[in-house]
Symmetry: C2
Subunit: 413 residues, 2 copies
């Protein structure tokens, strides 16, 4: 089954909103063996949208359209679909009562916009939206399908997972595509490539992509095979061969986040962590607490931007800061020790550095970051030199700090 | 000038990487009056990419291609360009010595990949990449232009701003497009629409889009006019009329972030802030410290996930937590007071709630969040009921907390 993804909205075409929806949809379609052949983006204009609907309907077996189903005047997708499928709008009682429930729960009164949201194209099958007012719509004709979903990301995601994927899975059938992504960090793309060596014997017909980001380089293996089980077996063979060469740099796979990997390790080992952040400014705490259940191993974190707060909250000695500077090995270690000590945690982790764009010097340029750790194996601080704008330096430093904890737990290096 | 943006990479087509590049490029092109007519995404396949290059070259005056210029085997853009423009590769000495400098600064040895990266198409003009190894490439023929840029976002951004936009600005000329986005928070899309009333007299020919997100609803005004000055004047008229109706909900404009707006207000008023986060888990601290110069008003923040840490770091009484529960008005206020007191800050801000997906109860369902503040006007806590998955609840709560500080500073409500 060949799919197109069409995203609608002037906000995308002028670059105001980043298109996360097309990536999510592509990932889910790939997961059931549906190949995405094209992604396109058009504005909130009836004619352009109608043209795009027509060409996707002709070229693809399945078109997924998102955006433009809301209650305001610039939402043109429903109108375009009514015209394209030569149908009209009727009130759907189930949609209407669902909207009434949602509004009541939020203490929001019924408005004309809600009347409008209760209308659906007569020829469409309604796909329920449990978390929002605009339902999904499915059109089916001559073996082809077009599915329209609201553009609000978590509403679209909910509908995809609860309804669209279950509906498409039995239709996808046939040949299987499998992707496996191995997540590395702490090694540059060119080094990773050199360590992997000759790719042909490694891959045996599979393909491999290198995807660099501030968090590290991802290695994506792709296999096409006649059956799901064969695809899975071949992906695993390639994964095993790659791991044999670069295992130490791989912290996870697929959509895993470092904080989830680390959370699992801490939970299994019954360890707790406390964090003292200077240059990462709360990003490590934010990432750790993005994991459901993190309250079991995160007791507290502190963001100590000032020297006074490093002294007061972490017991770092003023004389040490005066002698070495706040961005130094000894202060990083004292911060980590102070964080663990104050919280009674097993592991203390710290960052202190210069995120930029100002504050750098010749000796300590922007991007200089010390990461300190105090854990059952002892104390250590490592110096890093990161590049990029402020937010990228924060991201790289947070990732390197979490990776340091992971490596210490696994006794790597 | 009509532009297409073409992004290249299997990682995009399978949804592994979110396409932030096309949004960035579109924003910059719009800024100099260049309309983006289409955004398309293709995979790392020579034939598909060549086809896409050809159709964009035919349909648009300007095509910007990103991705696939790196050193590994799956980077096919340079090859596709060499074929499309019927040219060959030659070593560029300036590119070569720039790569040598970059590698030396990073203590990375010269490899065959670096030799390869020094090759550029003979017909292309090199656009320097100050922060990475792959240069940008410009092809120019018969009044049409194609520009290829690396896919690493901050490298692409650097090249766009330093070289591509200055190069295109004098060519864009003519009619002007102006966008202005007013950022609102704390009001639902349907309410905002109702408060604005009849849009026609409000807009006078301009267009208005409603863009909802977890952080609030953005209102984007778009004006097309014969000259830059006229476009600017008309955008300002519409903005003034909109502000007259919904000013209290507008915290900023265009690409401003709440944390920058708030940072400016705190700086002007010589105020400092300390934050105690429970359910937002460091996100407020992370956002505040994303602003360069935030060390002037952020002394410290604490993430107090456990009851013990609320007692130890913030002086919240154990008996209060036992009596009211950690998610309560009184604990929120005590946390805010404790944060400000410990740091000697002018403003204390706190969050305590249930981010989910577990931990909810009938009385305190997932999404229940108390936000507390202690500032020169007194103490207050407000209860919110947010919807969405864990990360969205964190985002909504962080935004509402920052907005509460803003409103208190402006004495709104």
């Amino acid at each position: 089954m060949k799919a197109h993804i069409l995203t609608v909205g002037d906000e995308l075409l002028i670059g105001q909103v980043i298109n996360t929806n097309q990536a999510f949809i592509a990932r889910r379609l790939n997961g059931i063996g549906v190949d995405v052949a094209l992604m396109g983006t058009v504005g909130d204009a009836l004619e352009e949208l109608s043209g795009a609907l027509r060409s996707s309907w002709e070229a693809a077996d399945l078109t997924i359209v998102t955006g433009g189903l809301g209650p305001t005047h610039d939402d043109v997708t429903r109108t375009a679909l009514v015209r394209f499928f030569a149908t009209d709008l009727v009130t759907d009682e189930a949609v209407r009562s669902h909207i009434a429930e949602l509004l009541a729960a939020r203490n929001v009164p019924w408005t004309a916009a809600a009347d409008n949201q209760s209308l659906v194209p007569r020829r469409a099958r309604v796909i329920p939206n449990p978390v929002g007012t605009a339902p999904g719509l499915l059109f089916h004709d001559g073996g082809k399908r077009m599915i329209a979903l609201p553009g609000v990301p978590y509403e679209m995601q909910e509908i995809m997972d609860a309804s669209v994927i279950p509906l498409l899975r039995p239709l996808a059938g046939g040949a299987a595509i499998r992707h496996r992504t191995l997540l590395t960090t702490g090694i540059a793309e060119s080094f990773l490539s050199a360590q992997l060596g000759d790719l042909e014997p490694l891959l045996g017909g599979a393909s491999l992509a290198f995807l660099p980001s501030p968090s590290g380089v991802r290695l994506r293996i792709t296999v096409h095979a006649p059956s799901e089980s064969e695809a899975e077996a071949r992906v695993q063979e390639v994964e095993t061969r790659i791991r044999a060469r670069v295992a130490r740099y791989i912290y996870g796979a697929d959509e895993e986040e470092m904080e989830s990997v680390l959370g699992r390790m801490l939970t299994e080992r019954h360890l707790t962590i406390a964090v003292a952040e200077s240059c990462t400014g709360g990003l490590i705490a934010h990432r750790l607490t993005n994991v459901s259940g993190s309250s079991a191993y995160v007791d507290r974190c502190v963001v100590t931007y000032s020297n006074a707060s490093k002294v007061a909250l972490l017991g770092v000695e003023e004389s040490l800061i005066a002698a070495q500077g706040a961005v130094s090995r000894d202060v990083a270690i004292a911060m980590a020790r102070g964080a663990a000590g104050a919280a009674g945690a097993d592991i203390g982790l710290s960052t202190t550095g210069i995120a930029g764009p100002t504050g750098g010097s010749k000796e300590k340029p922007v991007g200089t970051v010390w990461i300190g750790i105090d854990d059952p194996s002892g104390q250590l601080a490592l110096k890093f030199q990161f590049s990029g704008p402020r937010i990228v330096v924060k991201e790289r430093a947070a990732q390197a700090a979490l990776e340091l904890v992971r490596r210490r737990l696994l006794k790597l290096e």
